[in-house]
């Protein structure tokens, strides 16, 4: 069985949409649904479900936290499904194909997240020049980096065939993919450092240390740290408000406040 040009077009669009869907409305954000839809496009919904379901089981509970890149079995599902139908070799063959594709996508996911830093810098520049609309546009252009990161490889795979994946994986040197992974992990440092420069960090450096100690030494999860931070923030708040009141009292009603001091003892909540 051969694939039709309109099928290629639809599947490429599906690949584009699948990643955008995950990033936005999250309606068909899983291998199962995408497998099913590919099945519909290819006219074989049962195999589509089977491929999608099998891939689904492999990623149960796996999710992207803090911007980490995960094997993308959603894109894998599209390609796997198609080849299963074309070759007629069934589900297991499809899986065997979907997995390397999913792994390849990790690299392209990293690349997309990199590429978007360009838009970030344009946003920063346009803001400085007070061009809000230009900045706003750049906040949306990521649509294409994300979308094409999935659509292009799927398109190539469907047109040129499977061998190209292996070739590409062979060409990209391991030191580069490893290096990009490390870079991806340490790049947030730039954002954090800018944030620290932006906030009046020096005045609150003690709390930076306390937050760090809680997370690094005591292994407290983020919500725990935030709870602690909120407790300390409220303490600070009460103290500041108290100071305000004292200042006002001391000017407005010196005599009264002294009486209060002498009275001492009557508790008020």
């Amino acid at each position: 069985m051969t694939i039709q040009w309109w099928q290629i077009l639809l599947l490429t669009c599906l690949a584009f949409w699948a990643i955008i869907d995950q990033l936005t409305v999250s309606i068909v954000n899983n291998p199962l649904a995408i497998g099913m839809i590919s099945g519909i496009i290819m006219g074989d919904i049962t195999t589509g479900l089977a491929v999608g379901a099998t891939l689904q089981l492999m990623v149960l509970g796996v999710s992207t936290y803090g911007g980490a890149s995960m094997p993308d079995f959603i894109t894998g599902a599209i390609v796997g499904k198609v080849y299963a139908v074309i070759s007629g070799k069934g589900v297991q063959f499809a899986i065997g194909l979907a997995v390397p594709v999913g792994l390849l996508m990790v690299q392209l996911d990293v690349l997309a997240r990199f590429a978007n830093t360009i838009f970030q810098h344009r946003i920063d520049t346009f803001i400085k020049e007070n061009k809000p609309n230009a900045a706003a546009r750049n906040a949306l252009w990521g649509t294409f980096t994300w979308g094409f990161s999935r659509a292009i490889p799927v398109f190539i795979l469907l047109v040129v065939g499977n061998d190209v994946v292996k070739a590409i994986l062979r060409i990209i040197p391991a030191w580069l993919t490893d290096g990009l992974k490390v870079s991806g992990h340490i790049l947030p440092i730039v954002g954090i450092a800018i944030l620290l420069r932006y906030l009046p960090t020096k005045r609150f450096i003690s709390y930076l240390a306390i937050g760090f100690i809680a997370a690094a030494y005591l292994k407290m999860p983020m919500l725990g740290v935030a709870l602690l931070g909120a407790a300390l923030a409220y303490l600070h708040y009460t103290r500041e408000v108290e100071k305000l009141n004292t200042k006002q009292n001391s000017s407005e009603k010196v005599t009264e406040s002294e009486e209060y001091t002498n009275e001492e003892g009557e508790y008020e909540n």
């Binding site: 906040a139 649509t143 490390v182």
Partner: protein, 267 residues
């Protein structure tokens, strides 16, 4: 300064929700993560409230590092809008602090509920049905997703009412609130460093039967020492003349590749 004539309507809140829904992650990037999405979401309001210099300042504040779970993170936007509506640019630092302080915990809660629990339940039901050729599970999941989508819109409104409450109860005490918000934010950033920056030193010294794991030794000195040093380095460099964030991003990008090449760092 803020113009009271333009009180936020339900439509305004819906608009914010809508923009966040689409834009939150589209220009997600390694440097400031969801900053573009946040900026895009609040921009119409910034343009309505501020002009010229003030607008630039507020836009700059609203495009700082930000990362949260996309599903429940709009709660923060709701608070933000409520506070800015009342206090305008006076609340600049308050917003900066609150955003930073709340993003961590909301990311944790959102990721657990929307990233782990729901997909695991829907996914396992759907997959077992799908394996038997039954598409019902897949459709069920789509329905659940639509319900979730609907629910997401509620968080922003909830945040808005909470923010309004906060700012009402604190009239005349904005300084105190600002300080406290920043305090919370800085505390969370302190915890963010060892959490977000996840790199190890893979170097292992070996001679005969002796092995010396560099990371183990570094941990003895201080856990997450490398992330701390890297943040300190970048922070310090950013204070130098002629160092822009663009230069820094290239510097860190290349640094990562080089350190990885020489097996000094690994992900």
């Amino acid at each position: 300064m803020k113009t009271n004539s333009n009180k936020l309507t339900k439509k305004d809140l819906f608009r914010a929700n809508w923009r966040w829904l689409w834009a939150s992650q589209l220009s997600w990037n390694y440097e400031k993560m969801m900053a573009p999405g946040y900026f895009y979401t609040v921009l119409p309001f910034l343009k309505r409230w501020y002009k010229d210099e003030e607008l630039v300042e507020m836009m700059q504040m609203q495009s700082q590092f930000f990362n949260v779970n996309a599903f429940d993170g709009n709660f923060i936007i709701g608070m933000d809008l409520a506070i800015e509506e009342k206090q305008g640019s006076k609340a600049k630092e308050t917003i900066a602090g609150l955003k930073t302080g709340l993003m961590g915990p909301l990311a944790g809660v959102g990721d657990t509920i929307f990233g782990a629990i729901i997909p695991t339940i829907c996914g396992s039901i759907g997959a077992y049905m799908g394996l038997r050729g039954n598409p019902f599970g897949a459709f069920l999941w789509i329905i659940v997703n639509l319900i979730v989508l609907f629910t997401r819109f509620g968080f922003l409104n909830l945040g808005y009412s909470q923010g309004a409450k906060l700012i009402d109860s604190a009239s005349g005490k904005l300084n105190a609130i600002t300080d406290s918000a920043i305090l919370l934010g800085v505390t969370v950033v302190g915890a963010l460093i060892p959490t977000v920056v996840n790199v190890k030193v893979p170097f292992v010294y070996r001679a005969g039967k002796v092995t010396l794991k560099m990371q183990t030794i570094l941990n003895q000195i201080m856990p997450s020492l490398v992330p701390v040093l890297l943040v300190a380095l970048v922070y310090w460099l950013l204070g130098k003349k002629h160092v822009t964030s663009t230069k820094m991003i290239w510097f860190v990008l290349i640094l990562g590749i080089v350190l990885s090449y020489f097996h000094i760092l690994s992900a």
